[in-house]
């Protein structure tokens, strides 16, 4: 007699927990009922991200790198599950390798992107990169896993907290990723993943006054409207590449701080 498998309920990932949408809504995608987040879920996710940001940003870069590497380990271990939720094993492997690549960047950014500046006077002057803050990511629909990883990892590596809207058509990989993140050492709230209707959610994210940067890579034709809304608090708007792997992608989510101090006896 065949055993009836226990099916998963696909929920949101907010503040390290897996709530249903506060609206109680779901939608069907990839043959499953998936939580359909509301504007209040966006609000909660941003609040969670803001709350945990100091912890994540305040970690040593070495520590952040180790935690991101641990995420890669968690995904690698679930390769089979992920492969079934995206374009297949090669996409999973590329995603894992990309995370490992970014993990190694965490403690090199300040050296590559920062500088000490030879000002004309008795001052020591240096520039260091710092996280922008809370980053909203509108992930591309395809590829469902690698696209999301490629947009979220640059922000994470730099020490930001992320609220990401998953692929609308292929959200399951994102939920699987949430489960991997939940078992890694990434503090709850550093990555928040929302599933639902992009057209409904993105404007709330774009206009949210406590979001500091907006990645519109997956926004398609909605981008101009979102960018306009983003101007309300001068968000940094990032048009990324869904398949990029570069320290300049990290730099998009960094601020540069320059510090002066006199040099004297």
């Amino acid at each position: 007699m065949t055993r009836l498998p226990v099916k998963k309920t696909y929920k949101l990932f907010i503040g390290g927990a897996f709530p249903r949408s506060e609206s109680g809504r779901t939608y069907e995608a990839e043959g499953q009922n998936v939580a359909r987040a509301s504007r209040k879920d966006v609000r909660d996710a941003v609040r969670a991200a803001r709350g945990t940001l100091p912890k994540w940003a305040g970690m040593t870069a070495y520590n952040r790198g180790q935690i991101l590497y641990r995420v890669a380990e968690m995904i690698e271990a679930r390769t089979a599950e992920f492969a079934g939720l995206c374009t297949g094993r090669p996409e999973v492997e590329r995603a894992v390798d990309r995370i490992v690549w970014y993990a190694g960047w965490a403690d090199k950014l300040a050296q590559v992107l920062g500088s000490s500046n030879p000002v004309a006077g008795p001052y020591f002057n240096f520039t260091v990169p710092e996280p922008t803050g809370v980053v909203g990511v509108i992930a591309p629909d395809e590829p469902p896993l690698l696209g999301l990883v490629s947009r979220v990892l640059p922000a994470l590596t730099g020490g930001n907290a992320v609220v990401a809207l998953a692929s609308e058509t292929h959200p399951l990989a994102a939920i699987e990723l949430a489960e991997a993140l939940a078992t890694s050492d990434v503090p709850g709230g550093v990555v928040n993943l929302l599933t639902g209707r992009r057209a409904e959610l993105a404007p709330w994210l774009a206009s949210h006054m406590d979001v500091n940067a907006l990645d519109v890579t997956g926004a398609d034709g909605d981008s101009p409207e979102l960018e306009r809304a983003a101007a309300d608090n001068v968000k940094r708007v990032v048009h990324g590449d869904p398949d990029a792997q570069s320290p300049w992608e990290i730099a998009s989510f960094l601020e540069l701080k320059t510090v002066w101090h006199p040099v004297g006896q």
Binding site: P262, G264, Q265
Partner: protein, 312 residues
Amino acid sequence: MAQAPVLPRGFELPLEPRLPRIGSVDAVALEERAASLAKRSIKREAKVFALDLAVRMMDLTTLEGQDTPGKVAALASKAIRPDPGDPSVPSVAAICVYPNLVPTAVQRVEGSSVKVASVATAFPSGQSPLEAKLDEVRWVVEHGADEVDMVIDRGAFLSGRYAKVYDEIVQVKETSGDAHLKVILEVAELGTYDNVRRASLLAMAAGADFIKTSTGKLPGAATLPVTLCMLEAIRDVHEETGRMVGMKPAGGIRQAKQAVQYLVQLHETLGPGWLTPDLYRLGASSLLNDVLMQLRKEKTGTYQSPDYFTVD
């Protein structure tokens, strides 16, 4: 002033009820402020005012092994009447000499407004026993010196024996009696502005009537920043206790333009109340003639030659 941190030993024996916070000095910002004040453009009547005041504030100085009664007599004449060609030029404040020449100096300036200042306390090093220093002070005061320019014991200061420095100043002050006491910090040996501020407050707490930058025997004597640092300490003592202590930059001031810069700094740091020889002196040996030349240039409109001004 609130928040006076723990005072080192020696700082705890103030003559004043309260001392200003010792605090610290940022060297770069201090030097920038001094440089910025030095850029004031002082023209016409304002310049004549400053030059005239510089003459009145000058301590005309000779401190050489080769000083003789003849040299001091000449210096005294110059001090009383700096520009024989222009009686409107005032006398200088004082002549400053070695102890042996005090009697000559006193005799030569008698009846004029010019005071006699004598260095003492084993000038310039200060490396003698306290008894010897006090004897020297007693001697110059007995022989008529109006002002005593003492040196602090830098050895004691730099080794952290602040109480010794303090006690010595207190005793010299007592021994000086009515004579005005100028305390020379010899800033070039103190190393940092923090030390200069510390020594300034120490000297004022111990009863100095004036604080003075230097002996003039070392390179790196008076500078605008170090003088500013001392003026700020004087200002803090005034704000805290109401007492007005005088200031004397000495050494390295050779040009009229520098003298004007020092006066601007004084004016803008301590205010018009300090624009008097009673509270500010310029210690110099070769500054006077340049000031006289500039004064005559302002009055005649013609650039001058040193040939028309007596060397002493």
